[in-house]
Symmetry: C2
Amino acid sequence: MRDVLVDLPGYALRRASASMQAEFAALLMPLALRPTDASMLVLIEANAGITPSALGQMLAIQRANMVPIVSRFDECGYIKRIALDGRSFGLTLSDEGTRVCAKVKLAMKTHEHRIMERIPEKHRAHLVPALKALWSS
Amino acid sequence: MRDVLVDLPGYALRRASASMQAEFAALLMPLALRPTDASMLVLIEANAGITPSALGQMLAIQRANMVPIVSRFDECGYIKRIALDGRSFGLTLSDEGTRVCAKVKLAMKTHEHRIMERIPEKHRAHLVPALKALWSS
DNA sequence: TATTGTTATACTCTATAACTATA
DNA sequence: TATAGTTATAGAGTATAACAATA
């Protein structure tokens, strides 16, 4: 069977992303978090007081789809909502949320390390710069 | 707003993949095909007589999820089913399917070119080898 | 008038289990 | 008994439109 797609950058990108995403999801399972949840917790910690809208913009998640995620964080006691004005609120990690976030960051470190160690050394340093050129433009 | 994730390979991979995937989907819109459809047509052409199961294995798509895709190709007149034995059949492109496949390959060429031209030259040659190391292991 | 959070909804993609007919 | 194709279905993830409250 000839796989004529393997050397196409777009195809390789999709397959590599899906594979690494699945691996990261498995790594997060003990925390009952999905990759998107993990990203959100880390960003809330680094940007205390950020609004759901702004957070959604950073992660390319629509306002409407943020609601159930933020609600779940609230129910789990991971975040606090602090009213900014009458219609919007800022998000901050609770103590429990901060503890979970520490575990998330550990999982991320493990994940990123596993990714890098798979890449032949001579290509390693080029991956992130190449990828950043693709989505930040 | 501090985006502490941008330099993580896993995150950069996901964002780059999603962005390029969306761009490719837009490029395929005139053909009324999704990226997965495009991959399938090209693989059928390169592997005439391949079964849906084998095709699904190459693309990491489950047997059950192949059914509606293959059915649609059939309805569009893009493929022919040739019985291999009583329970399985091989897929081949029809003349119309071959014509559509040519357009698909053109779209792929455009897409891959757009990807590559965005990447700074010194990183360019490293992308595909790095990505292949991630999902073929 | 524009924006924030929200609700409801629909559509795609993917995953699972079970069935049938054939090998 | 194992396999190929199929059916039905459920769960994510994502997209859209509309609404209330507020700026």
